[in-house]
Symmetry: D2
């Protein structure tokens, strides 16, 4: 392989806090190694439309603290087709971009994997998603911030719950993964946490509510959004079963994606940005860089899939003991 | 009237940030004037159940910064009956409570007004509600904090809207009053604000969206919750009319009631707590204390009703100019 | 006077949260009235160096929530000279800028006043300073945010004070004005507040500390920074007089200037930006626009001076009652 | 050893966010296993004065989100003497407390170690300190929150630095350990970080400042407080060497200890509280529980000392590349 001279960087999929810190790190690291770097707008869509912009050190000044992504993100139907990807490749060649850093989640890496193999383009991925649902890294960029956003919101809801002796069903993000629900639920001292992984029987929740401490009138139930049953359905079931409770539903929604990234997410994004560029320089391709036990780990895109493991039984036990 | 020796204080209606600061101020001021003070739990309900607790300076230590209300709040069906109010009065007599401070909104003052007239109990009210919908005070306790909570949440949503070029419909609280929507909408730079007072024709919104700047792909529309049409309905209408927009709905919900009060709300609550106790000592009754143009103002409970005035046209003009 | 065709806008003096919201409002309002608008960098210095940039609607997109000022600010020795101001005027003429909006404090308006009179340039001022020390407006842009920043910081310090039974001397900004100290001191429930206006005898503080509630071991004293005596000196005096207290000093410093503006500051900046441009269009000059009791008020630069009035005795009374 | 029937819990040393979450977890876990639990006030001092209070589930309700420690903390000269410790032991016997959980740092564990060996009292420690300077755990309780507090403060300072083109020297906590400085320095995108571990030659800093990007006028230097040289000294040296810079000093101080704990700190405290009680039930003594790579790890008090290792060279490299 020839020496890399120009790295393209883009963000794809749902936005996550720390994506800007990741972009900054990729840009500054590339420049540090005397490599040009090009920002690609709106993920795969920008590859196809050729929405490129050369980036210098100043392009990423004062963005480490900002939520969202200055490169924007989105979905691309065209990239799902061979013709679309051919156009994308031609755009890379025309702009002398000879390697890519892709920041996103499972879908991003799947698309990147196909593209990399079709056109032999070196691509390294960085895990940017609030869901923390990827193997190959202890945490994804954005997860820590999202859990802090959730507990800040639920702390506010707790004020109202305490003042009115209410039961609140709070739905948090995580369609296939309950990791946001599990950590933030422990963080707010929830009475119960319902997540996809534990296939929670609603009867278990009912038992918890029935046997709860009598001196505790306010309650918080954290529910991960789900395909089959979400906060709305749970709230209806609880209202029917426990008509004496003053039960309310709160769907936190999109506030969980935005906001200034936490220190942990900024540091993680900064480290992985350096690792991603250095991985490309070392000839790696089709790899996601992650951080496990403080070490940089490389996971092939073939394996960089969501982990749908059972929830950590240690954490579930803690919920039961402490509520 | 005999000299007041024991003031009861309670919070009623929806909780609002700053209610604890208000309680603290009432308690400390009463003690300053060598008057006993008794906390009444859960609003009118606690009057009937006799859920009283004597309060000293330490009872209200370290609560000025807390959301919710340590005295809890709630509704009382029993207090709507003459029999219920008789029990409440008997409880006051039995506990030597000879005056009340009622912290809440319109409903609170209506109930207090009836009770005060029936039994000749001196009652002074303090405006505690996030909705800012009372005459007789520039701001209600909790309004400033709620608007800050809204803009903090919408700033996060804006990150996602910018990253995805989305249009977000954000529903905020204010069933009969669009003041939260109006101020926070200006605060976040919303493209449009829909409030009950302006009886907004949805066509006006459509015109705004049609004529918006072409270089601005992300948009925020703030909608006050409403009897007739709320965020959900607006979102459906926009999706139908503008299928090309990537339109999302976010209902902020109960996070708007909780949280640590802002400095302005703490100062307002502190001032009005002093004013409320001093008003009782000066023989005032059936009055809400408010602050208008930095002066303490007294409004008779007969008049302390919601103001359903037209929205300030100056503010509506600003939305149009700046979006 | 000819019709205004191009308004220059700049920020000067210490930065304040909400300056960006003010710039955005000036730019958008000018464009709304089909007037060009030019950003002048670094205050008066940029007038002299000709550091100008044309601004459009997009120039001020997504800045309403940001602290600091995108136009930067600074001091200018050259502008103190007639020669410097002549260069500045020539730059305005060369760039067809025929009116100015100056965002800053007393010093800014003094400089603007001289320049406006020398060269007959229409200038309108907007009050942007955290100190709230200007006549002609209830609040200056930045003051509300600064007080919230202070209480957030002192709430954290209170955690430590409570845990260790300590006395904390906290110095806040406000060299000539104790308004930040006074409001934030009430907001945090300070035991005492020392401000320049009240010419506080340290003996009064000593009496407060001597006579304080015995059941309250932790204490917070808020001190406005001052020419003669600041936090450091107060802390030394307290340590000497009360050796049994575990006394600590915290100087909050520059965190008070930055940060995302509060909703109140964003709304104030938005309103005054509209008012400033409209004032120029209506032929006003050498005027600061302010907001008093929700009405736009115009104060001539000759009078737009710091108010060094006595502190509001109502607020000082509240501190004594509630601590 | 007889079965444990009553566990005493106390906090000692500097307070840290998450200590309340730790107390809550210890109390709830003990109750879960049908063991009594007694709160000991003010650390070792309370052991000697017998300042004990029985705790139930409600004692720790609604504290998971609060900074500081409801059990208070402090130093004890008396506990340094054999006589003092004898009194402490007698108090435990008199109150039927047969095991202890000690939450604090190195000094806490040293004291606990001596006491445990002298009187054969089972004691388990939990790492509660913002400094993250203990071996046997990836993170100490409070560290994550402290780094978030630092970056929030420095983000505000950056606003002012950017607006004025200033250089800010920001001193953060960490007398013997630069871990707060290192992580938060990366988190804010600092131009340089000075920490005790790297024995930084001031000349290196000077070189960094001399060779910095010319297009970047504002700069942030993070300095860990230190025995030999702290923020003040560095600021003086920089002012002398670079008189053209507008250099300012900000000492963040005690705000770094307080505040609502982050989600990560609440989860860590919750997990370690369960682990601490279970360790006692399993017969462990003189052990600190920690979490390493998501596993509970036990470190004997003999080894639970501060780690004064060299700073992670990977992190130092990142600072150089990204600034």
């Amino acid at each position: 392989m020839d020496k890399i001279k120009n790295i393209g960087v883009f963000t794809s999929g749902g936005d996550a806090p720390g994506m800007n810190a990741a972009i900054r790190s990729v840009v500054r690291t590339a420049l540090h190694y005397d490599i040009q770097v090009t920002g690609i707008m709106k993920g795969f869509e920008g590859l196809i439309t050729g929405d490129f912009m050369p980036m210098n050190s100043k392009s990423v000044a004062n963005i480490i603290q900002r939520g969202g992504t200055i490169l924007k993100t989105g979905r691309s139907d065209a990239f799902l087709t061979k013709e679309g990807r051919q156009i994308a490749y031609d755009n890379l060649v025309r702009n002398n971009i000879d390697a890519l850093v892709a920041i996103g989640g499972e879908g991003t890496f799947k698309g990147a994997n196909i593209f990399a193999k079709e056109f032999n383009v070196p691509i390294v991925g960085m895990p940017g998603t609030i869901d923390n649902d990827l193997i190959g890294t202890d945490h994804t960029i954005g997860y820590d911030t999202a859990t802090n956003t959730v507990i800040n919101a639920v702390d506010k809801i707790r004020d109202t719950a305490e003042s009115h002796d209410r039961l609140f069903i709070v739905e948090v993000m995580g369609r296939d993964s309950g990791l946001i629900a599990l950590r933030s639920g422990i963080g707010v001292g929830a009475e119960a946490i319902l997540i996809p992984e534990s296939k929670t029987d609603v009867e278990v929740l009912f038992n918890t509510l029935s046997s709860g401490r009598k001196d505790k009138a306010s309650k918080i139930i954290i529910v991960a959004e789900g395909e089959e049953i979400g906060g709305f359905e749970i709230a209806e079931l609880v209202k029917e079963k426990f008509p004496n409770y003053d039960t309310r539903l709160s769907i936190l929604g999109h506030i969980q994606r935005g906001g200034r990234p936490s220190c942990a997410d900024r540091v993680l994004a900064s480290r992985l940005g350096v690792a991603a560029v250095e991985a490309l320089l070392n000839g790696k391709k089709c790899m996601m860089v992650g951080l496990m036990n403080q070490n940089v780990v490389y996971t092939h895109f073939d394996n960089a899939i969501k982990h749908l493991s059972e929830a950590d039984p240690n954490l579930l036990k803690i919920v039961r003991i402490l509520s």
